[in-house]
């Protein structure tokens, strides 16, 4: 390995930070892909892959992806919930890989809810 210069250190930091930022648990957007039995049967795994691919292609550092079980609306799977920091969560239903692409462009990057695919804004009241 050639000797490091200060600029190289900054570059390595940027790259490594991108890979490890997740560990600090802070993000601007949190995407939950619903992977209950119904979600998996309806193709949720492909949606997960599509989400992760979008994040990579768009080089996003502030999007966290997590999974959860069935959201209760099994007939509309695959589903995902998009939660932008400080805004109510939005549930998207009947997803395909193409729709995921559009939702990324409009909502996650663009900041405008893609309401044609959205089921509802907000969540059930818990307890």
């Amino acid at each position: 390995m050639p000797k490091l210069k200060i600029e190289d250190l900054a570059r390595i930091r940027e790259q490594a930070r991108r890979a490890t930022l997740l560990r600090e648990g802070a993000g601007r957007v949190k995407i939950t892909v619903h992977l209950g039995t119904c979600g998996i049967a309806a193709g949720g795994r492909n949606i997960m892959t599509a989400v992760l691919r979008e994040i990579e292609e768009r080089n996003l550092h502030d999007v966290l992806v997590t999974t959860s079980g069935c959201a209760g609306l099994c007939s509309r799977e695959p589903m995902m919930t998009v939660e932008v920091l400080g805004q109510p969560p939005v549930k998207y239903v009947d997803l395909t890989e193409g729709k995921v692409k559009e939702i990324f462009a409009e909502h996650i990057v663009g900041g405008k809810i893609a309401d044609r695919y959205a089921l509802a804004v907000g969540s059930e009241r818990v307890m």
Binding site: M1, P2, K3, L4, K5, I6, L9, I12, R13, Q15, A16, R17, R18, A19, T20, L21, L22, R23, E24, G25, A26, G27, T32, L35, G36, I40, M48, T49, L52, R53, I55, E56, L64, V65, T66, T67, S68, G69
Partner: protein, 619 residues
């Protein structure tokens, strides 16, 4: 594709010995089996600190904390958490008194009350990857020190920050650096003292294991400040994992050109070698350590001259403890103003403690200076198991002292005996009873052994003295002979043959050893005796005058007898004690009360251990 989950498996010494590496392998297999290897990353980290509940792991970004994970839990964990997104309840941490488990690491009291500076990267990075360290601002402080600061400015920042030596003596780090910088002689050396010999202490080991680059970066900044050319990391050979990780880290830093010549094109030349200590306690003392690095017997010598003027190979040498070095990069990066806001008036920053003994949450913690023992033991440590009463805490290992429960609300900090803020080497403090509560015993290097009501303080003093007596190098008479004499007296007392003359002699010898020994080992060896004499004199008196050990630890002073009613009514004279007694001192028939013949009893205590009905009474 980016990973969506980082699964941080603890691979500190504690968790590894609880088979965390098997858990890691099982996770990797399971994840491959389910085709998740591109989504989920398994990272092995250094010690998380909560060693009591290992093997442990943290799943990010949610921060879910799993404890006591075994390889057979892995399929369920992957299915439930990584696929369905449901944390596995049975592996979550649940405090004994709580109704529900606490899923998030940041909500668990053990972690919540801590503030991490020296341990800032623990559990967040793979200690064997320099890139992980760089991602967390690693080597940014070095860049700042090389490009924006003069050596004088670096020393000024360290001095103003109030950082003091974390090895136990509490000498101001900036002052030491300044002395070495001004000393004449080339080349200058830097030493990292990782010869952590106190029983029950593992602060340094953990820093090496979880974040070795923080030590290297600290030493690099020190090298720039004092003009040192070479560095030595002195590490105990009993720390194989720590040794391996610091060696890997040094190798990586060399490959990146962060060690070697003309570092980052700044003109700084500095390289680090590793010396393994052979396990002599005295080598933690700086002059003995230097002798050991030079290949001589680890014998201390009289100071002055201090190593700052006449150190390794007779050249000016700056020795600091592992934790001190790990604190340097954040101070340079964030400034002295930031650092000096943390802690108390006299003691700045944080301190790492290893919390062991009779406390629920044993492990490694980093807390702001000025925290009280009560907060440490109850809020973080979770209190004493089995509803026992807290009696004392032994700080600073064999060189430290016992702090009684009554002093539990005093803040932990460095205290000068005259109350002034001027900082001095604690070995040079005027010796009086009051100064025993200063740096030597109140603070120490960070080992905290919690003791409950079942601990005999005379026995504790005897234990630590047996350790220092064994480790005394024998170079000076007070330490060699004095510790032996003190140990003989303590052995007599715990055997029930002590006299009041013994007690007077013990105290007198302790002061002589303290005042006249050559090095820190002898000067501090009497501390456990002196502090227990000060705070627990009644226990010594009970041993000598009443021939009783109040905690029933010193068996020679105990009387064992069997409660005839319990023996028959609950145990139906089962006879297990009679069969197990090695001296055949117990007599009785089935369904009849059993009896111990006091003339035959050798007081081994086996009957207490084997009786299922608690019928054996110790008095």
């Amino acid at each position: 594709m980016p990973y969506r989950v980082h699964c941080m498996v603890c691979a500190g010494t504690g968790c590894v010995s609880n088979r965390s590496l098997e858990v890691r392998d099982a996770l990797e297999n399971e994840i491959r089996k389910r085709g998740l290897q591109d989504e989920i990353q398994i990272v092995t980290t250094g010690c998380n600190g909560f060693c009591a509940v290992g093997p442990l792991m943290v799943v990010q970004p949610d921060g879910i904390f799993y404890q006591q994970v075994s390889a057979k839990d892995v399929p369920l964990l992957v299915e439930e958490h990584f696929i369905k997104g449901r944390p596995v309840q049975k592996l979550l941490y649940k405090p004994p008194e709580a109704a529900a488990p606490i899923p998030k690491m940041s909500d668990i009291p053990f972690f919540k009350h801590q503030r991490l500076i020296a341990l800032r990267n623990r559990g967040l990075i793979d200690p064997e990857k320099i890139e992980d360290y760089i991602a967390r601002d690693g080597y940014q402080a070095l860049v700042k020190a090389l490009t924006e600061m003069t050596p004088e400015q670096i020393i000024e920042v360290i001095t103003k920050s109030g950082l003091r030596g974390r090895g136990g003596a509490g000498f101001p780090t900036g002052v030491k650096w300044q002395k070495v910088r001004q000393a004449k002689g080339e080349p200058k050396y830097i030493i990292c003292n990782g010869d952590e010999g106190d029983p029950g202490a593992f602060m340094d080991r953990s820093i090496f294991e979880s974040d070795p680059h923080s030590v290297i970066e600290g030493m690099l900044i020190g090298a720039r400040a004092i003009g040192a050319r070479y560095g030595v990391v002195y590490i105990r050979n009993e720390y194989p994992l720590a040794l391996e990780r610091i060696q890997i880290a040094i190798q990586q830093a060399r490959e990146y050109g962060l060690l070697g010549e003309n570092i980052l094109d700044s003109g700084l030349d500095f390289d680090i070698s590793v010396t393994r200590g052979a396990g002599a306690f005295v080598c933690g003392e700086e002059t003995a350590l230097i002798a050991s690095v030079e290949g001589r017997l680890g014998d201390p010598r009289a100071r002055p001259p201090y190593p700052a003027e006449y150190g390794l190979w007779g050249k000016p040498t700056c020795i600091n403890n592992v934790e001190t070095w790990a604190n340097v990069p954040p101070i340079i990066l964030h400034g002295w103003e930031w650092y000096s806001q943390i802690g108390t008036e006299r003691s700045k920053g944080t301190k790492v403690f290893s919390l062991v003994g009779k406390v629920r949450n044993t492990g490694l913690v980093e807390v702001p200076m000025g925290i009280t023992l009560r907060q440490l033991i109850y809020d973080i440590g979770g209190g004493i198991p089995g509803d026992k009463k807290f009696k004392a805490v032994q700080t600073g290992g064999p060189s430290g002292g016992c702090i009684p429960a009554g002093m539990m609300d005093q803040p932990i900090e460095y205290i000068a005996p005259d109350g002034k803020r001027e900082a001095r080497d604690y070995l040079d403090l005027p010796i009086d009873y009051e100064s025993l509560t200063d740096v030597g015993s109140m603070m120490g290097s960070g080992g905290l052994v919690v003791m409950d009501e079942d601990t005999c303080m005379v026995d504790v003093a005897r234990y630590f003295l047996a350790f220092t007596q064994d480790e005394s190098c024998g170079a000076c008479t007070p330490c060699r002979e004095g510790t032996k004499l003190m140990l003989d007296i303590l052995n007599r007392i715990v055997d029930g043959h002590g006299t009041m003359d013994d007690l007077r002699a013990l105290e007198e010898i302790a002061w002589v050893v303290k005042q006249t020994s050559l090095c820190g080992l002898g000067k501090t060896a009497p501390n456990p005796v002196l502090t227990t004499l000060k705070y627990f004199r009644d226990e010594y008196l009970a041993h000598i005058e009443a021939h009783k050990c109040p905690a029933h630890v010193c068996r020679a002073l105990n009387t064992y007898r069997i409660d005839p009613v319990i023996c028959v009514e609950r145990g139906h004279g089962c006879g297990v004690c009679r069969r197990e007694c090695p001296e055949k001192a117990i007599f009785g028939e089935k369904n009849q009360p059993h009896r111990i013949d006091q003339t035959l009893c050798k007081k081994c205590g086996v009957c207490v251990e084997v009786c299922h009905f608690n019928a054996v009474i110790v008095e």
